[in-house]
Symmetry: C2
Subunit: 759 residues, 2 copies
Amino acid sequence: MAEGELVGQRVVRIDSRAKATGEARYTADLTLPRMLHAKVLRSPHAHARILNIDTSKAERLPGVKAVVTGKDAAGVKWGVFRYTRDQELLPAEKVRYVGEDVAAVAALDEETALEALSLIDVEYDVLPAVFDPLEAMQEGAPQIHDHVENNVNIHVPIEVGDVDRAFQEAYLVREDRFSDTEYTYCQTEPYAVLVNYDSNGNLEIWTPNASPHTKAKALSNLLKMPLAKVKVRKISTGGAFGGRSDIFPGEFIAALLAIKAGRPVKMVYTREESFTSVRQAHSMVVDLKTGVTEDGRFLANEMKVVLDGGAYSSTGPIAVSVPFLVWEETYRLHNVRFNGYRVFTNKPVRGMYRCHGRSFMGGLGMQLDMIAEELSIDPAEIRLRNALRTGETQVTGSRIISCGLTEAIEKATETSGWKEKRGKLPYSRGIGMGASGMMVGFPMGIRGGSAALLKFNEDGGCTLISGVVDNGQGNESMVVQIAADVLGMKMEDINLVSSDSEITPLDQGAYSQASTFVSGNAARGAAVDAREQILNIASDMLDATPGELDLKDGQVFVKHRPEWNVWLGKVIRKALLDNTPVVGRGSYMPKVDLRREWVSNPKGQHAGTFSFGAVVAEVEVDTETGQVRVTNVTGAHDCGFAINPMAVEGQLEGSVASGGVGASLLEEHSWDGGQMLNATMLEYKVPLSVDMPQITPIIVETVDPEGPFGAKEAGLAGSMNMFQAVGNAIYDALGVWIKEFPITPDKVLQALEEKDPES
Amino acid sequence: MAEGELVGQRVVRIDSRAKATGEARYTADLTLPRMLHAKVLRSPHAHARILNIDTSKAERLPGVKAVVTGKDAAGVKWGVFRYTRDQELLPAEKVRYVGEDVAAVAALDEETALEALSLIDVEYDVLPAVFDPLEAMQEGAPQIHDHVENNVNIHVPIEVGDVDRAFQEAYLVREDRFSDTEYTYCQTEPYAVLVNYDSNGNLEIWTPNASPHTKAKALSNLLKMPLAKVKVRKISTGGAFGGRSDIFPGEFIAALLAIKAGRPVKMVYTREESFTSVRQAHSMVVDLKTGVTEDGRFLANEMKVVLDGGAYSSTGPIAVSVPFLVWEETYRLHNVRFNGYRVFTNKPVRGMYRCHGRSFMGGLGMQLDMIAEELSIDPAEIRLRNALRTGETQVTGSRIISCGLTEAIEKATETSGWKEKRGKLPYSRGIGMGASGMMVGFPMGIRGGSAALLKFNEDGGCTLISGVVDNGQGNESMVVQIAADVLGMKMEDINLVSSDSEITPLDQGAYSQASTFVSGNAARGAAVDAREQILNIASDMLDATPGELDLKDGQVFVKHRPEWNVWLGKVIRKALLDNTPVVGRGSYMPKVDLRREWVSNPKGQHAGTFSFGAVVAEVEVDTETGQVRVTNVTGAHDCGFAINPMAVEGQLEGSVASGGVGASLLEEHSWDGGQMLNATMLEYKVPLSVDMPQITPIIVETVDPEGPFGAKEAGLAGSMNMFQAVGNAIYDALGVWIKEFPITPDKVLQALEEKDPES
């Protein structure tokens, strides 16, 4: 198979069988000799000072091998930026949310650990708490962190152009407030961690994660250990959605226990703990003011966003400007003013979720529909008029090197029968659309790149060593498919070693939609390098120049005389005997502006490239019960090039569910103060198969000049556009705008009631 | 620390703590989810046809998940050469020794597996057996393998020069017969194996082993799986001594069971099984005829050796010419005739043991002492007269590129007080010496080399990926010490990934005394390559040429202005940002004649280099009981250069015990026909600490031109010379030559009785 023949094929993913049969191993499945089981004592208070913790009774319980409290944590704090390190992962003095870690026990079994927890006496001084971010910003609200006034964790201001003048010049100005609730990831796998610490000071960690190198670096900082001693191991991860990217109290506490006990420690969270004590998604309140020309082109955009950050910074500071990015990555903007605030509340910590709430922010495309209606422009048309195109530069300076937004909008409308349906369906049925752009890779300094190695076996097979991480997306298959294509091999002849911080070269992990673009490029580079080495060696054996040779199905052959050939294994053996073993090296660093900063300097090239997509959704509303059902979704996504179209479609389908149907219609947290009321899979509603629409995926290919074989990403293809498509479809069905997500039956009924009190 | 400063230091080995605390994990310690436990039904007969195996009752036993017999093994056969593949690792038709594998069961626990074994009915047709190799060679002896006449497995003839004429010209000709018994390795760890087989067809194996790549290759052949699917994992190995190098029935059977059951399978041998059903060492009968000049120089050497190979070939064919090699690697020979025979008997399979019985063959230096006595030449002097020297070529064509034999003999005699003691100690006390040469690395085709990778972390630490194998020698520490030296780093800042056939590049493993020479050279190459990359990148940062720079303690600095410097971590980060991550590559292939063959063409350069040593031993004999006690050993060894002198001394001390004191005085198998009688650690005598002499190690350094920093090997330093030193010392003590090893009290008493029947 020549280069470019295997990529683009619908191939079975290399992890399919293990996942389907239940054979894949997860952290909770693992056992090590002398392993202990750990449990965590959690705060029952949303905000309280810890006056004293008496662990003496717990320590005396037979079977208990180690007890740790904040005193063991040495006061180190975690936060994604140096200036936002505010979370003691095991706090010594104060708890700031219900479910926060207070003490932990490692014992011979879980029952003993739980019994020991009941023997720990904690004296608290309960403090007043605040749960609403807008209230938390008020003067006099309880102060959650010292030195953080009005509980404002991060404020990101962005201003380009002359916004006020542009609003004056606008033909039409609209102002709306939108909001959503927090979500939880609901990965199939509850959070779990296993830590092994040896007498040479090596720390091994197994935990579901999106980036072993990032976890290793964070733990290296927190535990003050060199990176060479911190080894985050590969283990199957049962879903991530951004919720396995951060560093969590769990791995830190398990490490403290393992070090103290001198034995391996495993900790498996309950589902409730997985809801409250790992991470949640930010909720947002967005005030959106938009000014357009008469023909619907953006003149001025102003946005104020308040994010509920929960008790600590975590990775939250990155989230603050995301609402702005969603706009500038999609549309041609000129004059913009953005003020993003992340505010502390006494609730669980909020971190990444599907690129920091991008799904919901894409939902602000509802205001665009409102404007379109006022201007009597078709919603598809208004999007096309503002859509970014290849070669254009976003308002804060990122150049678009490939763009299929226009094509995606056109194909989605065409395929869905948009023109025949929009405004023409019977009452209670509606159709709506959404469109969006999406960064692929962002400035992460040295952590934004990837490197890969590829070593050949004497029988012509090979091992690819890549830091690529697969949380379910199919990233492992992706790098194997790319390498196999370059090397003219079958995928099963390439063995993959991945996701181990000790073994693999630095790789950013499954962040920022960059796995295919970054890790895929590195894998391709390693394969290209190995291929060159092979052709060079074979050129001696075949008496031809490397340029005259090709490699396919384990044979190196002269292109114009294929009967002149040599078995790949023979080439590898010659290389070994000649003391030049074939080891390919590849690396890729996205071309971003490294001076760009999330908070202090949001200017310059922000991503290696951008992907684009459009979704058309049809809904059916039961006006008796208020229940909204999404019946059909047509999703067109510019993934650059589909390495494996089946995987791209799978990603599109998955993102229509999680972050799409679920987040826009079903998922929300219920609270009594700081106490989450629905932290179970029975009561927290995620879409089931019966809730899913018929999905028609459309792949738009723009063949990105930087991506491997032109590929970009497909991770958030559906969810980025589902909020707006669903919100707009409900308007099309009922004639009401519902601006608070999720759009649950009560909100539908209330909106109908307000529209027509007589109904 | 500049290059050459850390090597040569006495450093603590990186595995010391884990071994000392019991924290190191061995195969038997491991547990996998859904793991089964396996047991093997073994032949009670030394030679029998298998007529029928009925496993139906065993299969019906609750808890039994898989049963395998020879029918599942598809008739594939193992043997180290293509033409010696004669062992069905699970035989279908015939058993050839007591303890051979007949059927195996995997069940939920060991008890169930054992119960299932008792339910398997095997019908045998018992055949006549033969246990003595000389009898087995006679006409009419039971034929063990079809098509193998007179049970001669391998015959290696070597002839150089005009031997008959040289004997005619000799001033003195001696003929003697020497013999030894079989030994068993008695590794602290019994044999164990764990196999995991997944639905993608990946086979993972954990088992104590000396070469994961060799195991993987053999299993790939036997199971007809590509190498990329066979993954031999790193696991601590509790001693090897050659007994972990081969492929064994255990891993093959465990693999069959795991594949059949679709679950992981662990099998832990009893000590008795570890004695009889893994491998044993060859026993030999040697007829030695030697002709010398008047001044004791070799003129003609003729040797006929019969090795008892047990039931199958295994790695045995390599053993046949080893007795010859010992001579040609030590002394200047001219006219030689060698006939080596390996003969099948109905006894357990014999394989490598301390380089295939090299220890015992070194013992033939007793004849040299006899000759010396007849010619009135001092034993040290006769050795010096015949000793090879740097620049000379061995009789079959291997050039000596460094040689410290003369210096070793001189230092050992000087330090031990040889001149004052030899022939002058009171009756029952004696002193004797031995000397020998030793190949370092031998032609193994592509498997004779090693490659290594070295990747840097952003904090200036690094990970070395090397196939090096450590069975207790300290090889892991060796490669880390070498890399640390080159990179001016502390050893603890280098993380080692090793001994995994999937992750590490091809490496020969801990064979043929080549780890330091081959794997050490590869590690050095990777470090040198990484260092060059670092200096190149830093040269931009420091505005100096790479040649003007040095790297030490995590700083790159201008040699003549050390205050101009940059932190290594900063250089690594720059490399990452510049998309040129620092990954060093190194490889080494020993310069041997690849046309040389063990059996068919024993001519040409046989090893990359050769090491040399001499031992002087003092004994004290209790003439009442016949017990011999070695009181002092002075061992001088030319290891080229001692990377870690403490490790070299440790190797010397270890080899004085195992293969030395043990094999020459204590260790032997007792048989009742084919049934081993002393297959327990209580009855098989290995030297305990009370049996050990005072040891004075002397390191001779010749700084080999090929070895890393001049290093060669130190693996068999003591044992190679202990037989001859002990045998000669007993003669010095008692005036009797005992030519049958081990020299147990009964043989001493018998010899004294024969010498002086009146005593």
